[in-house]
């Protein structure tokens, strides 16, 4: 028996034990096993390994109690999810359009109440003028906050993009660039400073 034959046999032994080898090749391997004690010993060991591994294989057993529990939990979990919106049209609630219109109306009423309360505590002037001023101030405040958020988002985007490019060495550089840009913008939007007396004498 040549070592090459043994090598070829070893390669195919697991498939032989597994029963997945074709009949012709399986016959050849069996003939080799009849003449080679070492390969036969390996074959027997493989059979034993297979048996030992499979002995621990769990045998699934399903009783009626488990089936009832699984069915009840899955059924009622879904029911609870549907119950989150009990007014859905499928459950006999009003049509979606009416529900949306009601939502918009309630938001408008709430907004009006807030507006009225802020106007009542506001500065002097006619009611429409104070209301207009209040709305304008709120819009300005909101816009400035949005600008600030957008600047933050842009900064994060630049950082992430640079990091993704693998240029970690450039991250700090990008941050500095962006910081300078923000500083320029801030100075541009600030009102010009009042002229201060110049204490330095020309040519000093």
């Amino acid at each position: 028996v040549s070592p090459r034959e043994c090598e070829a046999c070893e390669e195919r032994l697991p498939d032989l034990v597994d029963g997945t080898l074709g009949a012709v090749i399986a016959g050849e391997i069996r003939r080799h096993l009849d003449t080679c004690a070492a390969c036969l010993a390996l074959h027997d060991a493989l059979v034993l390994v297979s048996a030992e591994l499979r002995r621990g294989r769990p045998v699934p057993s399903v009783d009626g109690e488990l089936a009832a529990r699984v069915a009840a939990r899955s059924f009622h979990r879904r029911r609870r999810a549907a119950d989150l919106w009990p007014l859905s049209p499928e459950r006999g609630g009003p049509p979606w359009r009416i529900q949306v219109a009601s939502g918009v109306l309630s938001l408008a009423v709430t907004g009006a109440v807030f507006l009225f309360s802020s106007v009542a505590h506001g500065a002097a002037g006619s009611v429409p003028l104070r209301a207009l001023r209040s709305v304008n101030e709120s819009a300005t405040d909101f816009r400035s906050r949005t600008d600030s958020w957008m600047e933050d988002v842009r900064l994060v985007r630049v950082l992430v993009a640079t990091a993704f490019e693998g240029r970690l060495d450039r991250v700090q550089e990008q941050v500095e660039d962006y910081r300078r840009l923000l500083e320029r913008r801030r100075r541009a939007t600030q009102p010009p400073a009042s002229p201060e007396p110049n204490h330095r004498t020309p040519g000093a």
Partner: protein, 184 residues
């Protein structure tokens, strides 16, 4: 005559809890067998089955008969849940070693029982010594009974690679037994 799966599904969609119970009872054994193949533990398999049937119930309306049988659809959903669960706990599963079952003492006695125990211990030690990429297919397919196809998907490797790794691992374990002259 019991209802077909499709008929039961229609009844479930109409809110019939009894029909859902019948459908679960009909398919739970196969789902549990599949889940145990991935988890190797009964409690974990029950969790997988629960999650799978909850998903199934939520998406009952999405089943399309033109794309295959209802049973095949159920098994696909269950398989996806089991694979997701397996991948979530993969590191944990690699750390914990599956217990090989003690040989029964009923028929064998004396030297035969000692030999079998020795074989089991050698296999266990051999499993621990295997690298993870060889041990995982053995645990999934041989010990837990998962199919080769399912195991290949769970491990994200081609079927041929899985079989090759399985064969290498089995040979490695068998050589340990042969070298100690332990035979069946």
């Amino acid at each position: 005559v019991s209802d077909t799966d499709e008929r039961l599904r229609d009844r479930c969609l109409a809110g019939d809890e009894e029909a859902w119970g019948e459908l679960v009872g009909r398919h739970l054994p196969r789902v549990m067998a599949l889940a145990q193949g991935f988890t190797g533990r009964r409690d974990a398999a029950e969790d997988v089955a629960q999650e799978a049937f909850t998903k199934l119930f939520r998406s009952l309306g999405a089943y399309d008969p033109a794309r295959g049988s209802f049973e095949a659809w159920i098994m696909t959903v269950a398989r996806n849940v089991a694979i997701d669960q397996y991948r979530r706990h993969r590191d944990e599963r690699l750390r914990e070693m599956p217990l090989l079952v003690e040989p029964p003492t009923g028929d064998d006695a004396g030297p035969a029982l000692v030999r079998r125990r020795e074989a089991r211990d050698l296999v266990r030690i051999g499993l621990q010594a295997l690298p993870p990429e060889l041990r995982e297919p053995v645990v999934l397919c041989d010990i837990q009974g998962s199919s080769y196809e399912d195991a290949a998907v769970a491990l994200s490797i081609p079927l041929g690679t899985l079989k090759s790794r399985l064969n290498r691992a089995r040979l490695e374990l068998a050589r340990r037994l042969r070298d100690r002259r332990i035979a069946p």
